[in-house]
């Protein structure tokens, strides 16, 4: 059903997409995250205002908006990473597969096992390539060497980096290039077999070639994972996502399938932003 949407180039999409198929995909896809009336404060400043947003299964959802609009904050709320900032308060609900993750009884470790994250700056551990990947399964209790070997290989293959590193698994991950490090971080995320992968501007620290590789990887990953990606790069959102949310000053301005948002934005502010009038 995504055959239309997964076409990579934006202009191609606009030409080939039809209103009807977009409407269908909006209705049919199961929802992974259901955000309802979410507010978030950093001490006294309100960073998110009444956010209402569904995240669809096995699709790429892009969140775009100017700096400081709250897009990263929203992303980090989905795995409660935002709680690492002192003085954060939230109201409203985010239901992950029916359960409210903002509920205090929801174990944050459990959430983050289901919802993996890839960060803006590649952040491998100062350990070997092998240990970087095996870290996740190990902390969740897998001790068997054979199984770990298998997970490491599968995860590295899944992130399309296996061929580049298979001969130096025991070497320090810092020896890899920035782009390789970021794909290693994606592999580390895959190793815990998550349901959702959150990506916080994953290519902003990478060169164009590495960026392309990561974007292609995302297209592959969405066959098995639901992906939410924050990006300041509108072209990237248009290239890789199925749905796009536009945020401004902590509010969700518009959310719809990517084709519609970029070709026929309903809100004036969305139009101004995507046509480059501000941001």
């Amino acid at each position: 059903m995504h055959s239309v949407i997964s076409v990579k180039a934006l202009n191609k999409k606009i030409v080939t997409s039809s209103e009807k198929s977009q409407q269908e995909s909006l209705i049919e896809n199961p929802i992974v995250f259901e955000t309802d009336d979410l507010n978030l404060w950093y001490s006294d400043t309100q960073a998110l205002k009444n956010i209402q947003l569904p995240i669809y299964e096995k699709n790429v959802t892009a969140i775009i908006g100017p700096s400081g609009c709250g897009k990263s904050t929203y992303l980090k709320t989905l795995n409660r990473m935002v709680e690492l900032v002192p003085g954060v308060q939230t109201s409203g609900t985010i239901k992950y597969r029916g359960k409210n993750i903002l509920d205090k009884s929801f174990k944050v470790e459990e959430l983050r096992t289901q919802v993996g994250m890839v960060f803006q700056k590649p952040n491998p551990f100062p350990k070997s390539i092998y240990d970087n990947i095996a870290y996740g399964p190990k902390i969740h209790g897998i001790r068997n060497k054979k199984i770990l070997d298998e997970i490491v290989e599968q995860s590295l293959r899944g992130a399309y980096i296996w061929d580049e590193v298979k001969d130096r698994l025991k070497q320090n991950a810092y020896g890899l290039s920035g782009g390789q490090q970021q794909r290693l971080c994606i592999a580390r995320c895959l190793a815990i077999e998550p349901d959702v992968i959150l990506m916080d501007e994953p290519t902003s620290a990478l060169d164009p070639k590495s960026t392309l590789k990561v974007e292609e990887l995302i297209q592959e990953l969405k066959k098995e994972y639901s992906i939410v990606i924050v990006t300041h790069n509108m072209q990237q959102a248009a290239r890789i996502s199925d749905y796009t949310a536009f945020m401004l000053n902590g509010e969700l301005v518009e959310f719809t399938d990517t084709n519609t948002l970029f070709s026929m934005p309903k809100d004036k502010r969305t139009e101004d932003y995507i046509t480059g009038r501000f941001g």
């Binding site: 690492l84 993996g116 810092y174």
Partner: protein
């Protein structure tokens, strides 16, 4: 606008340049002053003590006869003291640092604790001696034994270890911890696998420097009532003991009675200095060798 007259600038120039030279000399003299004092001290100590520094002196027992006196007891005492101080300060110090940096909720209470730890580092050592005597030697009835001395010394250097460890933990990049939390690790797993290994060099450096402070401290042990002359060697934490700086202290006091005691003190200072030098070098080597790039 024409205020920068070449004439005026040229006239002032010589004075400004000369003033700069004068201050350069002042700062150099300030540096050299400390070095000269240190050099004089070391030369004098070496002059006086080197001839007494031999195998008999290092391995012998204490004696009132300067020719037969040895400092094995004090060396052993110093090591026994360290055997108490090292585990206690590392466990309590690093534990406190981890709690304060990673677990404690940031707020009023935490900042009060933080300020007090920093203040404790500045409390005079003799005050710790009085505390140690009251609690460990008297109230808990240990007497003037290694355990009482070690606990007192631990209290003394604990703030240093805590502050150094906190700084080491704080210098671990946040994005490493985030990576670990991000795949569902608990705080303890993150501390054990990521934060502690990355901050270990800093923690070790701080601990070793704190240790060398403990080795050189005398005042708390004076208050604790360490005996001036002790014949048996300590062989456990419940034995009475003496340490190198105490030996220096008593021999220096008694130099008015027997002149050679001053030379024995100098020889002991050499031993203590060598010990401290080795510890500080270890700290520097660790710091340089394990300095991490993130």
């Amino acid at each position: 606008m024409k205020y920068m007259e070449p004439e005026m600038v040229r006239n002032k120039m010589r004075f400004r340049v000369q003033l700069n030279k004068i201050f350069q000399v002042c700062f150099f003299l300030a540096t050299i002053f400390g070095l000269i004092v240190l050099a004089v001290l070391i030369v004098r100590v070496l002059n006086q003590g080197l001839s007494y520094l031999n195998m008999n002196f290092l391995t012998g027992k204490l004696s009132t006869n300067p020719d037969q006196a040895g400092i094995m007891g004090a060396i052993l005492g110093t090591f026994w003291l360290m055997a108490v101080v090292v585990p206690i300060t590392t466990i309590l110090g690093v534990g406190t640092a981890i709690y304060n940096e990673l677990y404690a909720k940031k707020g009023r209470m935490q900042s009060v604790i933080q300020t007090n730890i920093a203040n404790l580092a500045g409390v005079p050592s003799i005050v710790y001696g009085i505390l140690g005597m009251t609690i460990f030697a008297r109230a808990l009835n240990f007497g003037s034994v290694v355990l009482a001395g070690g606990l007192t010394m631990s209290l003394l250097v604990l703030p240093i270890v805590i502050v150094a460890s906190q700084e080491a933990i704080r210098s671990v990049p946040q994005h490493l911890a985030e990576a670990s939390y991000g795949i569902g690790a608990t705080k303890w797993q993150t501390v054990k696998n990521i934060i502690l290994p990355a901050s270990l060099p800093g923690i070790l450096t701080g601990s070793i420097l704190a240790l060398s402070r403990a080795i050189g401290e005398t005042a708390p042990l004076v208050v604790l009532g360490i005996p001036a002359l002790l014949i048996p060697f300590p062989s456990g934490i419940f034995d009475r003991f003496t340490v190198l700086p105490m030996q220096i202290y008593y021999w220096t006091i008694d130099a008015s009675l027997v002149e050679e005691y001053a030379y024995l003190a100098s020889a002991t200072i050499i031993v203590l200095l060598v010990l401290l030098f080795m510890l500080n070098s270890t700290a520097i080597i660790i710091r340089n060798k394990f300095q991490q790039r993130y």
